[in-house]
Symmetry: C2
Subunit: 389 residues, 2 copies
Amino acid sequence: MYEKQLLLIPGPTMVPPRVLRAMAVPPVGHRSQKFSQVVREVSQNLKKVFQTERDVYILTASGTGAMEAAVTNFINPGDKVLVLVNGKFGDRFAKINARIGAEVIRKDFELGKSADPELVKEILTEDKGQEIKAVFVQQNETATGILNNIKAIKEAMGNHPALLIVDSISGMAVADFPVDEWGADVVIAGSQKAFMLPPGLAFITLSEKAWKVNETCKNYNYYFDLKAAKKNLAQDTTPYTPATSLILGLQESLNILLEEGLENIYKKQQMFKEIVREAVQALGLELVVKDEKAASPAITAVKVPEGLVWKDLNKLMLTNFNVEIAGGQDELKGKIFRIGHIGYVQDMDLLTAIAALEMALFQLGFVKDLGRGVRVCQEVILRYKGETK
Amino acid sequence: MYEKQLLLIPGPTMVPPRVLRAMAVPPVGHRSQKFSQVVREVSQNLKKVFQTERDVYILTASGTGAMEAAVTNFINPGDKVLVLVNGKFGDRFAKINARIGAEVIRKDFELGKSADPELVKEILTEDKGQEIKAVFVQQNETATGILNNIKAIKEAMGNHPALLIVDSISGMAVADFPVDEWGADVVIAGSQKAFMLPPGLAFITLSEKAWKVNETCKNYNYYFDLKAAKKNLAQDTTPYTPATSLILGLQESLNILLEEGLENIYKKQQMFKEIVREAVQALGLELVVKDEKAASPAITAVKVPEGLVWKDLNKLMLTNFNVEIAGGQDELKGKIFRIGHIGYVQDMDLLTAIAALEMALFQLGFVKDLGRGVRVCQEVILRYKGETK
């Protein structure tokens, strides 16, 4: 029953059959008129999801490739940057910046706390020479399940000229992010999260201000050169051969997202978050992110209780109940686990996952009575869906 | 009949239904045991195709991404490199090197001529200080249909310590290239050519000598850092989320390639080359590459005859006969066209394509009698397949 497996990791996420079918076709010439029409349609629809009037460029790469593009197209060696770190992916922004020789001011936030806009305000206010060229932050930190308040961070930046560069790889189409309205300068996203596609595509959009900074940037990077992306998108194409089958899938997944409607999606994701947060607490587990407002609607991080071995839990859930969730990464390995509720997921999937978690914890002796977690899922679902007439 | 279209461009190429089916499955967790098994199997089989004992790393990117990796992991700003140029992709190697501040000695060869090993010998012999750090060359130049003699180029390098860095994106699994035996230090390939996959994956392998050079390289590139690829492949995984569905397709396409056998594939590709070269000449057209030994077994470039408008030919072939071939790129636009005979192609497809070309040229008044080109295809096919009993 491999294909029935519930894949609830924070990406790659499950993919709708409609999208699988759209990709399972003989290839298209990437410079053909037919494919240009696809690029045109997809670009228009990406703009809707990003809530932007600006172009959104498609890169054939993992999210990390887009993170690199979001650094190398704007930052020169020696430039000063502020990197807000809530976990592994914030750390990655710091590493990519350091690698090209940027001077990184790194601010780590305590596990489970979102980035503090007040601190941003403080640092930028103290930067009298206005030397800080950009502020890097995750909208949604996949590693720890944090949702940062991008609107507040932008407001905290005041009139400081630094660019606001946001990794929304696991945030876009999960939590509301009106890119233009909030004034983010560079925003990236990835295919294997809320876009319900296999990994391999990433997206990036930039403001006029970001383009101006780009002009003064000695970008050593050839493959991720956004000038080439811009020039080519004007002709409905990409600089290099793109992952054509994934783009055909994207065409379909954008249709699905827009049919559902962004508002409905954000609401649904909020319900998912409540289902999982309330249910794991009912199972006696502790959330990593205490503050509900700072908690991600894409993924919930849970502390591994004293005495429980994550690998045992993971194995039981997988082999006995066909549900795959994710562990912690790097220094959080064995300390937290993460339940993804992003992509092609519905409420009943999460109920199933919680039931599996409950049974596995029961088998391991960490839960005494069955049914409590599942009942909480039912309660939250009915809170959203109302009572039957 | 869109899905019946003969796609005979030099990539993306057609994809076998077996591979399409392998990719059209619900996603797999990229850190799961199941997927690690796939990575292990695929890595072993890639080594067979590359005829190497070394690791072959999988990158989630177009071929151009792998070209960048083949530069930035070895070359520092200020390093001297020799770039042999037979067309657009040789030019791209020069550009990527220039971009990171390498001192590029660029040698362009006349349109239709392969890279001259004697010239390489001369340049390296004159390089008394042994300052040239690497020689860059395409095994198969996709833009002009040139097959370079990598073995001869390596021999011409003699005892000079420069690395031999070969773009075999459209050469691997088309023309024989025993990577270890010939002593190429860095070799790259791409998914959308002979590997019969959609675009989105690239492959790279390197020698011990290349690893030594890598150690002294201040590689600014994060996403294409091969040290991370090496460290992760040792654990049957990749540094960042890979294009999992394409890797599942690769697993199947490698099975197909190895079932067919490399020797049989090289022989088949030689037949394809002869079919197309002899047939287009029978149609009164002129080949770009006169010397049969320098002609690519993956793609044949043909001069657009005086008075013929490429776009008209292209359009007729597409709309009337459902066959897509490729034009020239950049300064060769309108001057040459290219017939791809790579990927999921059989001899009868090429016969069909030649028939379509013949009919289109007939409609445009460039061919007087029908049947000549097709008959030549039949003759070449029977030359390979023998007579019926």
